[in-house]
């Protein structure tokens, strides 16, 4: 019996004439931290989107908990969450942005959880809660987007360059937060990053991709 959380089988995907993904077999064990790195255009972001069931491969299957899932909104999207590169915030306050996922799940008593999430990403709740989406710097936007996903405690969290636009201090805070939720909630992580040092220190496995293929696994 396969105990993997996610499985990718014989996936082949093209954009026009270019092969973007060509993966025979890949799986994610529950509670693991998988790191993915590689040059730009190697297919890392596309792979994450497929793991998040936001895009479907031309050929092959992506499984979560042993089953295929639709890319249209369905319950799997309450278990898998993606933080893309250059994340998008809704045109509302920070509080509303961070709380959005909790609200769609009709969760009660979300205020303390929102505050906790902001704290995890290093933003002062009293200052930031009522700020509007257009009153944030690039780095702050990214951290709010991350908080909006951390607060959901998904089974699988996919992060695409989570520390890309951040200064060193904020990067450290994020790295700590990411590692923390795995400890406290058993969240499985897939992290795409160019920060090899960080990935080497926490990820197992660490996968290197090139031109859509997984060429090395550490």
């Amino acid at each position: 019996m396969n105990t993997s959380l996610c499985e990718v089988r014989n996936v082949h995907h093209t954009y026009g004439s270019r092969t973007v993904l060509d993966i025979d077999s890949f799986y994610i064990k529950p509670g693991s931290i998988t790191g993915i790195t590689g040059p730009n255009g190697c297919g890392k972001s596309t792979l994450l989107r497929m793991l998040a069931f936001l895009e479907k491969p031309d050929r092959g299957v992506v499984l979560f908990n042993g089953a295929e899932h639709d890319i249209r909104p369905n319950p799997v999207h309450r278990e898998v969450c993606l933080l893309g590169q250059e994340p998008y915030l809704l045109k509302r306050s920070v509080r509303a942005n961070v709380g959005y996922g909790l609200n769609v799940r009709n969760t009660d008593d979300i205020e303390p959880r929102i505050r906790e999430a902001l704290h995890m990403v290093g933003l002062d709740a009293d200052d930031f809660l009522r700020r509007m989406w257009h009153e944030l710097s690039g780095g702050e936007t990214q951290r709010v987007a991350l908080a909006a996903r951390l607060v959901l405690r998904p089974k699988l969290l996919l992060l695409d360059e989570p520390t890309a636009n951040l200064d060193e201090k904020s990067s450290t805070t994020i790295r700590t937060a990411v590692e923390q939720i795995r400890k406290t909630d058993g969240t499985s992580l897939v992290i795409v990053s160019h920060d090899l040092r960080w990935l080497r220190s926490i990820c197992s496995p660490l996968i290197i991709m090139e031109r859509g293929e997984m060429v090395e696994t550490a």
């Binding site: 893309g84 809704l90 959005y100 509007m132 959901l152």
Partner: protein, 230 residues
């Protein structure tokens, strides 16, 4: 020329002294334009939404058709609606000819292309990252619809103001379908047409200014809403 100046002062006189015919026209205008706006928005936003968000065969043709309807003359709409609502017409048994709901039907037809076209554009120009973001945050399709409308709210409010301007200033539909009946279907614009037709130009100007005052009031309310929606 001095009917302009005379009309200017007459406007304030009519409002200040509470002239019953003027206030009846104001109330009628507010009533029917509210009905028409509500119907245009409730029907137009979902339609514009599906037009903007979906890709289907003939989308371009449909979009061109909607855009062309933006130039539909009000007198022609009035004529068509009259034909349908007349006792001889297919909808005659509803008996809404010469009533405000009848006028509202016509004005809604006037406002719908504006709302649909501008909503479709607003949806098309939404950030492409919105849909995947909402999906990954776990929103259901219905929740996504509401949130998308809210994300587009600034453009939608603009669409609403454009439709309102066209609706509140039209004469052709109110006249043909409403009949300009005193106390019942006489709006500010049909009253202006009546007075200027009788040669009472200064009253026409006065009522025109009254209409602008009403429109100013509406705009101030929307402006307040805009601030809260920021």
């Amino acid at each position: 020329m001095d009917f302009l100046l005379h009309g200017f002062f007459q406007a304030f006189h009519l409002l200040w002294t509470g002239d019953p015919e003027t206030y009846s026209a104001i109330w009628t205008t507010v009533l029917v334009s509210t009905m028409s706006m509500a119907a245009s928005l409730l029907i137009g936003i979902p339609l514009g939404f599906s037009l903007g968000i979906n890709d289907f065969k003939g989308k371009k043709i449909l979009r061109t058709l909607v855009d062309t309807l933006l130039s539909f003359p009000t007198v022609v709409i009035g004529l068509l609606v009259y034909a349908f609502l007349s006792r001889q017409g297919p909808l005659g048994d509803f008996g809404i000819l010469f009533t405000l709901p009848g006028v509202a039907v016509g004005q809604t037809i006037l406002g719908l292309p504006i709302i649909i076209a501008l909503t479709a554009t607003a949806v098309e120009t939404l950030d492409k990252r919105l849909k995947p973001t909402l999906t990954t945050l776990g929103a259901t399709p219905r929740q996504m619809l509401f949130t998308t409308i809210l994300e587009a709210r600034h453009s939608l409010m603009l669409a609403a103001m454009a439709a309102y301007g066209r609706i509140v200033s039209e004469v052709g539909i109110s006249m043909m379908v409403g009949g300009n009946i005193k106390w019942h279907t006489r709006t500010i614009t049909t009253a202006i047409a009546l007075e200027t037709g009788k040669g009472e130009f200064s009253v026409g100007i006065a009522l025109g200014i009254v209409l602008m005052v009403v429109a100013l009031g509406v705009n101030m309310c929307v402006s307040g809403l805009r601030k809260r929606a920021r």
